[in-house]
């Protein structure tokens, strides 16, 4: 399997956006943020319309056959892609870590799966590790204090976290504060959030308490699933704080002019 640190350089290549099923249906503006940032950097972006889902929800619940059927659709949708970028650590981890498992014994799709694995990047690691870009020359209109929630799959399977902090750290008017237990799971875990909703809710409560206690007004994450879980808990508890996707904050800063 091409370990994610062995992927060929994506520099100079066209990017095919994998927007993820969740962002497609619930947060399309985040997808647009990614497009805007990439095009701002002079990168050609396309969006294969045949894309659906990476297959993670079924896979994490043990339904490997059904997951694979959907994963094959992913392979088909991206058959002409040179580089795939996705604003989701968990979806990127699904492709990078689990597609090799799913397609290990599949003579028909194994080679294509390996090719896809070698060209797939999570959004922040694409910018920083893939392209070497650490400063988008962005500026937020208002000074804002942020703190990071590290989404589990991205952090532990892909080593994400530093890239996003570097990018946000270079945004003018952005201050980065600490979130206590930033590396502890928010409790989403896919269908776990509903199958074991009491436990998911208890994990969420601890996360909400930590967020409320933080100096940050806004929590940053690279995964819309975590974002949905945390915002769901924050609004239920009447908190003034919100969780935003890193792409949206960076794109917002592109609008502002650096002095």
């Amino acid at each position: 399997m091409a370990h994610h640190s062995e992927r060929p350089s994506p520099k100079g290549k066209k990017v095919s956006l994998f927007v993820t099923c969740m962002i497609d249906m619930m947060y399309p503006e985040t997808g647009m943020s990614v497009v805007n940032i990439l095009e701002h950097l002079g990168i050609e972006v396309d969006f294969p319309m045949a894309q659906t889902c990476c297959g993670q929800p079924a896979y994490n619940s043990g339904y490997q056959n059904e997951s694979k059927q959907v994963a094959i659709q992913f392979l088909k949708a991206f058959k002409d892609a040179e580089v795939i970028v996705t604003p989701s650590g968990s979806c990127a981890a699904m492709v990078l870590h689990e597609y090799p498992v799913l397609f290990e014994d599949d003579p028909q799709w194994k080679a294509e799966a390996e090719r896809i694995v070698s060209i797939t990047w999570e959004f922040t690691e694409f910018l920083v590790d893939g392209l070497g870009i650490t400063d988008l020359k962005a500026r937020l209109a208002q000074p804002t204090t942020f703190a990071f929630h590290d989404s589990c799959h991205g952090m532990r399977l892909l080593g994400l976290g530093q890239a996003a902090r570097t990018l946000l750290g270079n945004v003018e008017n952005a201050t980065i504060a600490e979130l206590n237990e930033h590396e502890v799971c928010c409790g989403f875990g896919g269908l776990f959030s509903v199958k074991m909703s009491d436990i998911s809710g208890a994990m969420l409560q601890k996360k909400v308490n930590n967020i409320n206690a933080s100096d940050a007004s806004t929590i940053i994450t690279g995964d819309s699933s975590c974002l949905t879980q945390m915002n769901g808990g924050l609004s239920r508890k009447g908190s003034s704080k919100k969780v935003r996707h890193i792409a949206d904050v960076l794109a917002e800063g592109l609008g502002g002019e650096r002095k």
Binding site: M49, L157, V184, G189, V194, D198, A202, K206, T228
Partner: protein, 477 residues
């Protein structure tokens, strides 16, 4: 111990709503997790990670060579004067212990902590044979007088608050009420001291069996482990077959990553290596030392893709790191082994049909693997067990059907986009703030957002169309 793991979800719910359990388990696990992180990144994180990999290799190599190492360990232990017995089942373990006890005219047994003896419910059998058994690890002693079960690999009563422990000791032992942990400990120590001196037999577990030297290796902090294994005439160590390690070099690594990972200590207070019974000219030490090598389902696990779970050195780090365990405590898991490692070995040892909720009791966050001193890939095995559950039909019809529909909807781009529209409609007009059916648990604890008025697919299509017409387009019309 009786298996009650099928009750996990309601038991977890009760635990979550119990403020005492919440306070005790949250504080206890957080505390140990933070200490572990410090100990395993000293002097640097890189070094800690390298030691983890070294420990991981040591256990896997031992497992690869397990039958040969068991024979070597047995030969060396025998040469050292230890009697070695083998037991396949719970009943055999208990019968062996009873027979040894009867042979040596044992009436009083002092026990040091052993999870394997919990598996086989040894205490109940000994008591049925008319022996008195006293647990000497402070936490296990409280468990015994409270007639409950240990909830954590290292800290048996991590789920109890100090007032609860105090009240139990007042009620069952006549302790004068005090909120001072030192006073409570002193009371327990005074109560237990005579048992060490009067016991005929000591029973311990074993953290490692060192094949190269034929040694039983134990780590304890309180001193009860040493007392149980040095004061009574007879010592029996009950040890799972997977505890064998190859060499003193491997042991030196493992016996140092274990305390760092479990409690953040650089060494457990007593790192004890027992070669055999007392020798000619010695004035203390047991006259007879026995080891019972226990299978009880381990050979079955060895023959599966889950053999890696046998690398566990029972340090408890995964329990301390796990956000699910932190919310539920260990008793909800319904058997001896709780938390991440418990979610794997319990169904493997007692049967999937008796513990089917446990592999689901995880958000797959991966914290367990990150802290495991032997780098067991617990998330990978949880995923595989979930796959097994599906294959064995243990997941519930509603999910089987739901996922089939999900697959149909996501295989086809057209159906996917249609499904999105329907979801949008349904969310806005029909279900309002609720999700359908089994997904309804979401809104018990959090709000659910609206679906976007237009999907990204739609927005992109419109954007491309606008671009093309703006370009005066080759696509006119």
């Amino acid at each position: 111990m009786k298996v009650e793991s099928q009750n996990f979800i309601p038991a977890a719910q009760i635990a979550i709503r119990n403020p005492n359990i919440q306070e005790a388990v949250t504080t206890g696990t957080r505390n140990s997790y933070v200490k572990r992180n410090i100990a395993m990144s000293t002097p640097t994180l890189e070094h800690g990670e390298a030691m983890r990999m070294q420990a991981a290799e040591a256990k896997r190599r031992a497992l690869r060579n397990l039958p040969d190492l068991l024979e070597k360990a047995e030969a060396n232990m025998k040469a050292n004067g230890i009697t070695v017995e083998w037991a396949q089942t719970s009943q055999e373990v208990c019968k062996l212990v009873v027979d040894i006890a009867k042979k040596h005219n044992v009436h009083l047994v002092a026990k040091s902590k052993s999870m394997v003896t919990e598996e086989v419910a040894l205490n109940d059998i000994l008591e049925a044979e008319g022996m008195e058994v006293i647990e000497t690890d402070l936490g296990e002693f409280i468990v015994q007088i409270g007639k409950t079960h240990p909830s954590h690999l290292l800290a048996p009563i991590i789920h109890m608050t100090k007032p609860e422990i105090r009240d139990l000791m007042v009620k069952e032992l006549g302790m004068t009420p005090t909120d001072d942990a030192g006073e409570m400990t002193k009371f327990a120590q005074a109560h237990l001291r005579r048992y060490f001196l009067e016991a005929d037999m000591g029973i311990s577990g074993g953290n490692f069996i060192l094949a190269e030297t034929g040694s039983i290796c134990l780590v304890t902090n309180e001193g009860n482990g040493r007392m149980c294994t040095t004061l009574p005439r007879v010592h029996i160590a009950v040890v799972g077959i997977e505890k064998v390690v190859e060499s003193v070099k491997d042991y030196a690594t493992l016996t140092q990553v274990l305390p760092r990972s479990g409690t953040g200590q650089v060494m457990t207070v007593y790192t004890h290596m027992i070669n055999g019974p007392r020798q000619l000219g010695e004035t203390d030490g047991p006259e007879h030392v026995y080891v019972i090598l226990v299978d009880n389902g381990r050979t079955k696990i060895y023959d599966t893709d889950y053999a890696e779970s046998l690398a566990c050195i029972r340090c408890g780090a995964c329990q301390n790191a796990c956000p699910v365990y932190r919310s539920t405590g260990g008793l909800a898991y319904g058997w001896v082994y709780a938390g991440p490692i418990g979610a794997i070995v319990t169904p493997l040892l007692v049967g999937m049909e008796n513990a089917s909720p446990l592999p689901q009791a995880s958000s797959l966050c991966g914290a367990c693997k990150q802290v495991c001193p032997v780098n067991i890939d617990i998330p990978r095995m949880l995923l595989e067990l979930r796959h097994d559950l599906v294959e064995q039909g243990e997941t519930g019809k509603i999910w089987d059907i739901g996922i089939k529909f999900w697959a149909i909807g996501n295989k086809s781009p057209r159906l996917f986009q249609m499904g999105g529209s329907m979801a949008r409609f349904g969310r806005k007009h029909v279900l309002k703030n609720n999700l359908p059916g089994p997904l309804g648990g979401w809104t018990d604890y959090r709000d659910f957002p609206n679906f976007a008025p237009k999907s990204f697919h739609q927005l992109w299509k419109e954007r491309q169309a606008a671009k093309n017409s703006h370009n005066g387009g080759s696509n006119n019309g």
